[in-house]
């Protein structure tokens, strides 16, 4: 158990194992994404109320779900880095932020594109949508703070503090946004619709959700590998690695 933790803390080991995982996970992810997209776009029947526009669900929901989960991954990594002073947790946390921001962005953009045919407007100030917007700000805040520091070790620590503060705040933010919305008007627009989802739509959706999780993992590992290299640029093992690299 402890030896596993020690290994996790060792950059060369992590770098290598991430490479091994990526070697099979990345192709699988890409194939799954392609299959899911084709299935959703071309091989399912349209929704009886929303018509073909509902096909956006196959990217919208996975992106939103993974973006939400991503923040927790980031916060946990931040906590580990602050409490156990594990440098690799720092790296993981930093690597989460841009991916989370990108996925949140996808969820927002696809959502608002979807909104135009269904609600007739690009944007509404609904509780869930607003909290998604806030999530985007939270992610961008971490990215921006990290980039603003020159000393990357200090940057990691600063971001860890910020993420932890965010962790305390996220429930408050979500709760408050929910209350804010219920204050003003009844939910005239229901994103969920009470329609029980048809299995022919559910399976491609599940596949897409799974592949977005895999996508997140892949990107995370790739980002971590790059980050490890940059931080360890002066150590022997990276130099050896670079020596074998044809430019």
């Amino acid at each position: 158990m402890w030896s596993f933790f020690h290994k996790l803390g060792s950059p060369p080991w992590l770098y290598r194992i991430a490479g091994t995982i990526l070697r099979w996970l990345l192709p699988v992810t890409i194939v799954a994404l392609c299959v899911g997209v084709t299935w959703g776009l071309l091989y399912t029947a349209p929704d009886f109320r929303q018509g073909n526009s509902y096909r956006i669900i196959y990217i919208h929901v996975p992106a939103a779900a993974v973006a939400l989960a991503g923040y927790y991954v980031m916060a946990i990594a931040g906590a580990v880095s602050l409490i156990w002073k594990m440098k690799m947790a720092d790296v993981a946390m930093k690597s989460c932020a841009p991916i989370g921001a990108a996925l949140t962005f996808i969820a927002l953009v696809t959502g608002s594109i979807w909104g135009k045919p269904t609600w007739g407007t690009w944007w509404v100030w609904d509780a869930r949508i607003t909290s998604m917007l806030i999530l985007l700000f939270l992610y961008l805040g971490v990215v921006a703070l990290y980039e603003a520091y020159d000393n990357k070790e200090a940057a990691g620590k600063a971001c860890a503090v910020l993420t932890l503060v965010g962790m305390v705040n996220i429930p408050i933010i979500y709760k408050s946004v929910d209350w804010w919305y219920s204050l003003h008007q009844p939910a005239s627009i229901k994103m969920t619709g009470d329609t029980t989802i048809d299995p022919s739509m559910l399976y491609p959706l599940l596949l897409m959700i799974a592949s977005f999780y895999a996508l997140f993992t892949c990107c995370l590992l790739m980002n971590m590998r790059a980050e490890i290299l940059e931080r360890e640029a002066r150590t022997g093992w990276v130099k050896k690695l670079a020596l074998g690299y044809r430019s």
């Binding site: 000393n151 070790e153 200090a154 620590k157 002066r234």
Partner: protein
Amino acid sequence: MPQGPGDSLLAVYDLCLERGGRELFRDLAFEVSPGQLLQVDGPNGAGKTSLLRILAGLSRYGFSGRVERRTPLLYLGHHPAVKALLTPRENLAWHVAGEAAYNDGQIEEALARVGLYGYEDVPSHALSAGQHRRVNLARLYLSHCPLWLLDEPFTAIDKGGVAELETLLVEHVGRGGAVVLTSHQVLRVACRVQVLSLTEGLLA
């Protein structure tokens, strides 16, 4: 674990520092004992300020090695920590370093000793460059910390001021204190000055 003599005020083991891709020093190990006056010497960019900040505990990342601080210390850095809007008197009375509560008499005496008699109640931004730094140096006359870390304390100070400061350093060392300082000037003091040379510096 290496064991230093119990009475040293500061001990440094295996200190290595790399900044901006250059190794500034490696495997630095020394102790500072009571009665010692240590001048850190070296050309611009040698790493004197970086070393002092590590000794003071302000830098905590980016170096390897261990520093043991066994006593309260007083650190004066490149920035004077003098608030332009406050008068010299207020600057000392309300100093954020919070070592002790000084009474008015003590403060006036310290200011007089750094040559600011008559300037106690002038806002600090209306002082000249040297006077501004002197406000900071007045802390040395008030402090009871055994260990002083001074980063170029003579900057902008005139000849008379430098001589007086040197006397003060000797007094402090004589009382059983210790001083680590950086300076590009040669110290003219009546006691032994140990020199720690950081030779890596500018390439010129």
